[in-house]
């Protein structure tokens, strides 16, 4: 079965003054389409860095990331931006919504990354409305993010991540700022998306229960990924 995303021998260090801090040291991962994959690890282990590397945001010092058989870091910045726009959806712990835009505009953002016709823009608006309805926010489309609760903001962020119907969703502790009940609802929705068969989810989490619910669970330690069961 061909992989949707495959990371090989990823090395990444950070320079802090005169100190070089190794974060990833040969991390490797292979994810098949339709899977849920969790990554756990201690704080500062490099989970977010790995997610950024997988998402084409942070170039590794060594190693390669293949998305649908294309080496992400051999593409030009513009092509890589296009892959991020069309193939990858990000969900962050702190939502990262634009306070100047209303909920509908925030959800529509990803489709504005590429040029769109009038017809496409109208269709995108409809899709954004459908997505907001799917996450239970169809009554809050014209509200600004500041008028929403944390759980509602995260649901807007999920709707935004799904706007371009990406194959891969990268979620960085999506329930980190939410209470248990709201967090459970958000996770249920993310898992449901994968079960529906159109998406693949890689989730960074601290919650062992969430990690255990995934098809594969990896632990990041010493810069390497190992199966959590090992």
């Amino acid at each position: 079965m061909s992989s949707l995303i495959e990371a090989e021998n990823i090395h990444k260090t950070y320079q802090l003054g005169r100190h070089v801090i190794p974060v990833l040291a040969g991390a490797a991962l292979r994810v098949v389409a339709g899977q849920t994959v969790s990554i756990v690890g201690l704080s500062g282990a490099g989970k977010s860095t790995l997610l950024h590397v997988l998402g084409g945001l942070d170039q590794p010092d060594q190693g390669r990331v293949m998305v649908e058989d294309r080496d992400l870091y051999r593409l030009s910045a513009r092509q890589r931006a296009l892959v991020r726009a069309l193939k990858i959806g990000f969900v962050f712990q702190s939502y990262h919504l634009f306070p100047e835009m209303d909920v509908l505009e925030n959800v529509m953002l990803p489709c504005m990354a590429a040029p769109q016709s009038w017809t496409a823009a109208r269709q995108n608006r409809e899709r954004a409305r459908d997505l907001l309805a799917a996450v239970g926010l169809d009554g809050r489309m014209n509200h600004t993010p500041l008028e929403l609760s944390g759980g509602e903001q995260q649901r807007v962020a999920i709707a935004r991540a799904l706007m371009n119907d990406p194959a891969l969703i990268l979620a960085d502790e999506p329930t980190g700022n939410l209470d248990d009940e709201t967090g459970r609802q958000v996770l249920d929705y993310l898992f449901q998306l994968v079960r529906d068969g159109r998406h693949t989810l890689i989730i960074v989490t601290h919650h062992e229960k969430v990690a255990a619910a995934c098809d594969q669970c990896y632990r990041l330690g010493g810069g390497k990924l190992v199966p959590a069961s090992a």
Binding site: H52, L57, A77, R78, M112, A113
Partner: protein, 407 residues
């Protein structure tokens, strides 16, 4: 459909929770003031430029013909040749020289313009500007300007003695002064013309400069003073190489050059104010890019290209400048249309910005030039693009991971 870059720029102009709009407003007001000052000052200078042109053209000829060897002897031939040219409305022989003049025991040194009296009305507007007496140069008659008349206490019927400059040039001969009678006083509304010139007949002029016939030059008036190159060429063609032809811009070239230089300098100096205002736009953009670092990182994560992010901030700068520029032009035009009211209001506060006795004008002149407005607009937009580029480039080059971590 609004392009994303413009969409984002418009969103950033109306922030929901930050003070940036105030900073943006200050930048816009800065550009507004810079542009308004440029529009007002350049329009007033245009007004003065026009005023000088009108005054000069109402007093002086459009073309002056002189002999290549000096005087113009055969005036009738010149009249016949030039009168035939279509568009020429007046031709008259003249002698122009500085003299000493005594009246009521006071002495001054005006320039005498001795003109062929039968043709004088066609080469000068002085006959239309008489305030006392009439334009009559016959029988030793002289017409003087109102300021000169006041200076020497002259009225219609007063007598003046005019001394020939030849008394100085030819010291072995004695030239007796000519007794002239003031027949009229004119008011052209310009101190130089009303205080420095007297007009008399061509015969008197010849007597003053020791000529038996002819004139030192021939004044020509055309139907359109601004078409002087064409008329110059036609007159040259009609008269041949024995004559020199100068136009009114050449005769007063120093003054027009001075006006042009003054205007250029004013533009450059005031443009510096506008450039400083545009630097405020750059400052605002730098503040915004720092404040929006987090959001720039998110845009990159969502797949927005550096070019789109850069364009959004350049749009932001452009919008500020466009609003400031449009408002500045509007304010400038508003001030110009109420300029006299403003001057009058300042006068009531004892702030005299336009004394009538100095400028000889009842209202401050101004003229809006569409070409100059476009020049100002182009200048603002070029500098605005340059000022927006640096912060926009910085935003586009931000590392998305660092930007997302930014608090």
């Amino acid at each position: 459909m609004t392009p994303f870059s413009l969409f984002l720029a418009l969103k950033y102009l109306r922030p929901k929770r930050s003070f940036v709009s105030v900073v943006t407003l200050i930048s816009v007001v800065g550009v507004l003031l810079g542009v308004a000052i440029l529009v007002i000052v350049l329009s007033v200078m245009n007004g003065f430029d026009d005023m000088w042109r009108t005054k000069i053209l109402s007093f002086k000829p459009h073309l002056i013909i002189s002999g290549a060897q000096g005087a113009v002897e055969n005036l009738d031939e010149v009249y016949a040749a030039v009168d035939r040219i279509p568009g020429i409305t007046g031709v008259a022989g003249c002698i122009e020289t500085r003299v000493l003049m005594r009246g009521n025991g006071l002495i001054t040194a005006p320039v005498v313009i001795a003109v062929d009296e039968s043709r004088a009305g066609r080469v000068s507007r002085i006959p239309d500007s008489m305030v006392e007496g009439k334009f009559d140069l016959a029988d030793n008659g002289v017409v003087v300007g109102i300021d000169l008349a006041q200076q020497l206490g002259l009225h219609v019927g007063s007598h003046v003695l005019v001394y020939s400059p030849l008394n100085v040039v030819r010291q072995d001969e004695l030239y007796l002064p000519v007794d002239l009678e003031v027949t009229g006083i004119y008011n052209m509304g310009m101190r130089d013309f009303d205080g420095m010139f007297i007009l008399t007949s061509l015969d008197i002029g010849r007597e003053l400069v020791g000529m038996r016939s002819g004139a030192t030059s021939v004044y020509v008036i055309t139907k359109d003073a601004f078409q002087f190159p064409g008329f110059s060429a036609k007159v040259r063609e009609a008269l041949g190489r024995d004559y020199l032809i100068r136009n009114w811009t050449e005769v007063d070239s120093l003054m027009f050059e001075a006006l042009k230089t003054e205007k250029t300098m004013m533009f450059l100096l005031l443009a510096v104010i506008t450039v400083v205002a545009i630097f405020c736009v750059m400052n605002t953009l730098i503040v915004i890019t720092v404040q929006k670092t987090h959001e720039i990182g998110l845009l990159k994560a969502l797949g927005f290209s550096p070019g789109k992010i850069m364009a959004a901030f350049i749009w932001h700068g452009w919008i500020q400048c466009l609003i400031g520029m449009a408002a500045g032009i509007g304010v400038g035009l508003l001030v110009l249309h109420n300029l006299q009211n403003i001057v009058d209001a300042l006068n009531t506060m004892n702030i005299r910005v336009f004394p009538k006795e100095i400028y000889g004008l009842s209202e401050m002149p101004w003229r809006i030039s569409a070409r100059e407005i476009f020049k100002i607009a182009g200048f603002v937009m070029v500098f605005c693009t340059a000022a927006s580029f640096l912060p926009a480039y910085r935003a586009a080059r931000l590392d998305p991971v660092e930007a997302l971590r930014h608090e």
